[in-house]
Amino acid sequence: MRSISKKVFSVLAAAVLGASLMTSCSSGDTAEEEDTEETEYQTLTVEDEEYYTRFKGKDVSINVYNWGEYICTGEDEGTLDVITEFENLTGISVNYTTFATNEELYAKLKGGGVTYDVIIPSDYMISKMIKENMIQKLDYNNIPNFKYIMEDFRNQAYDPTNEYSVPYTWGTVGIIYDETVVDIPEKDIDWDILWNEDYADQILMFDNPRDAFAIAEIVCGLSLNTEDPQELKMAADKLKEQKKIVQGYVMDEIFDKMGAGEALIAPYYAGDAMTIMESNDSLNFVVPDSGTNLFIDAMCIPNSSQNKEAAEMFINFMCEPDIAYANIDYICYSTPHSAAFKMLDPEIQNDPAYYPSDEVKANMTVFVNLSDEANMTMQTLWTEMKSAEEDGVNKWLVPIFLIICLLIIIFVLVRRYIKSKKDIF
């Protein structure tokens, strides 16, 4: 769902619009500044080099399955190519592949026939995989760098004892809006702006039920992890009410639609919002105080792993301060890594969109997996909401269709009858 292949979309955008989106996000970096700051090369130093060389020359390889555009590739000058650095240091070769949604990852693993050693699903998917026994417990003796993970991000509800996952990145959902048109002060912007009829047909909404329901649930004052059918129905009604002023239900398209000023208001993930804002100066991003979803993507090892120890080494490597910094600097999300956080630009460290204050954070909820029934209810309500027609259209569609079918059948029968008459003569 999140962290879509930004690159693909910017290539498309470039082709169609002739506009180029920047994918780098270190705020305020212009081309000129980069020239003068040539010395700012990222370097790699690891604490315990001996730990990493155990598998050297043993021809070990691991399969890593990650989100698209979710690791530092060294493409930007001066940054680290994380995978190559890992291969050089350890002698383990890495097969690196990417997915676009948690559901895609789940379907792949569930379908069998593939082995992955490291995967990076999001919170609710991790709890689903733990429940279905798809991922295995980690040996934290092999992951000493876990010590860097901030206390706040350990033992989350999706993995209460933190035995299965090592947090990689996190982020929040907020509202991205055009501040030149929306004349509400930033601090007053709340989720109900998405129901404000003054902006009818200028509002975009998530095209996936979990995120869309979460927003409706905040507005209705419900829990983001509710499984009560009544409460889900309430949220669905809220979304139905919103439908008439929603311009469209979108995911990745938001990059272009907001960037080109097609719409004024849209909810989206913080890291991606920053990317969108680079292409359109009049946009602003705000995380409402009334609460939101805090998502965490964490590294896990599936049961199918062939080289658990090498996989744990990879996870540990990803938690090396230099590597964690290089990654977070590249993908623009927020980091749960204390040492990498300290290396960040102070401007980003103090940006409430990236690192909200503890009071705001207290209002945020991390998704856990819902029961199959609740998921099914949500999916059904969502489909119902999306396929509901505006009044008047639905009434006529079915009869017209039936009449046309009937006419065709009558026509065919009449034609056959005439023909059979003709044949007699």
Partner: protein, 269 residues
């Protein structure tokens, strides 16, 4: 002849492994629960999406009809042109198909947008802006645009074979141009019409990316519904298979009706 049969073996294997077996798997999934027990609940659950089915069929029918109306004159004119011009014109018809399907649909998003090219040009003359994108009309437009060549090509290839002297003979025998069209050209091009309709209608009814990109996500089609069962937040391949199965049956019924117009009995007259 017998020797030639050997050469069809690779395709037979292909057909069994990649067409027949998957079809059986779809049927198997549609009639079982996740623990593998027989059930008809999946099929009966499809009933609640009746309005999505009706909308998909309706939009696909409209798109097919528009394609036919647009393509028929084009194909006729094309087939009556001089030979060397035909090649060039055909190339122009095919040209958009060289571009990626997704990119073509994506381009329509920029054209139809509220601040898009069309509304911008209309704005110069003080018109609009009109709501063009995120409507069912936009979805039909996307279907027509993407599948039009599939209508033109079969029509053209049939019409090209109509002998000029047949038309001349009809005129000699006293047909005016309208009845030449209706009594000679249309009956002779019927096979092209039926295969053109099949080639447009079937992909149009099961498309999903067009409705997502141009319909704004609120014009759900069957294709979207099936996709949601596999990659949505409730992983439900059983329901997805059931929907696919019902869709196949509907297409089969519609194709059977279409075949009533098949030219086999034309020959008898």
């Amino acid at each position: 002849m017998k020797k030639l049969k050997v050469f069809s073996a690779p395709y037979l294997v292909w057909m069994i492994v990649f067409i027949l077996v998957p079809l059986l798997m779809v049927a198997y999934f549609a009639f079982t629960t996740d623990s593998g027990k027989f059930t008809i609940r999946n099929i009966s659950n499809v009933g609640q999406y009746a309005n999505i089915f009706v909308r998909s069929i309706w939009l696909a029918l409209v798109a097919t009809a528009v394609c036919l109306l647009l393509a028929y004159p084009v194909a006729y004119l094309l087939s009556r042109m001089e030979k060397h011009k035909q090649g060039t014109m055909l190339l122009i018809v095919m040209l958009p198909m060289w571009m990626n399907f997704l990119l073509r649909t994506y381009a329509w998003m920029t054209l139809l947008g509220n601040n898009g090219v069309i509304n911008h040009i209309l704005g110069i003359f003080g018109l609009g802006p009109y709501k063009l994108i995120n409507t069912s009309g936009a979805v039909v437009l996307g279907m027509v645009y993407n599948y039009l060549p599939f209508m033109i090509l079969p029509l053209y290839s049939v019409m090209e074979k109509i002998d000029k002297s047949v038309i001349e003979a009809a005129s000699d025998l006293g047909c005016n141009s309208a009845s030449v069209m209706w009594r000679v050209i249309v009956p002779l091009s019927l096979p092209g019409i039926t295969s053109g309709i099949t080639m447009v209608f079937v992909p149009a009814i099961s498309t999903f990316i067009i409705s997502r990109m141009l319909g704004g996500g609120s014009n759900l089609l069957i294709g979207d519904l099936i996709e949601m069962q596999f990659l949505g937040n409730s992983y439900n391949p059983q329901l997805g298979a059931a929907i696919s199965l019902v869709l196949m049956v509907i297409i089969l019924v519609i194709m059977t009706v279409m075949n009533q117009f098949s030219p086999d009995d034309q020959v008898l007259i």
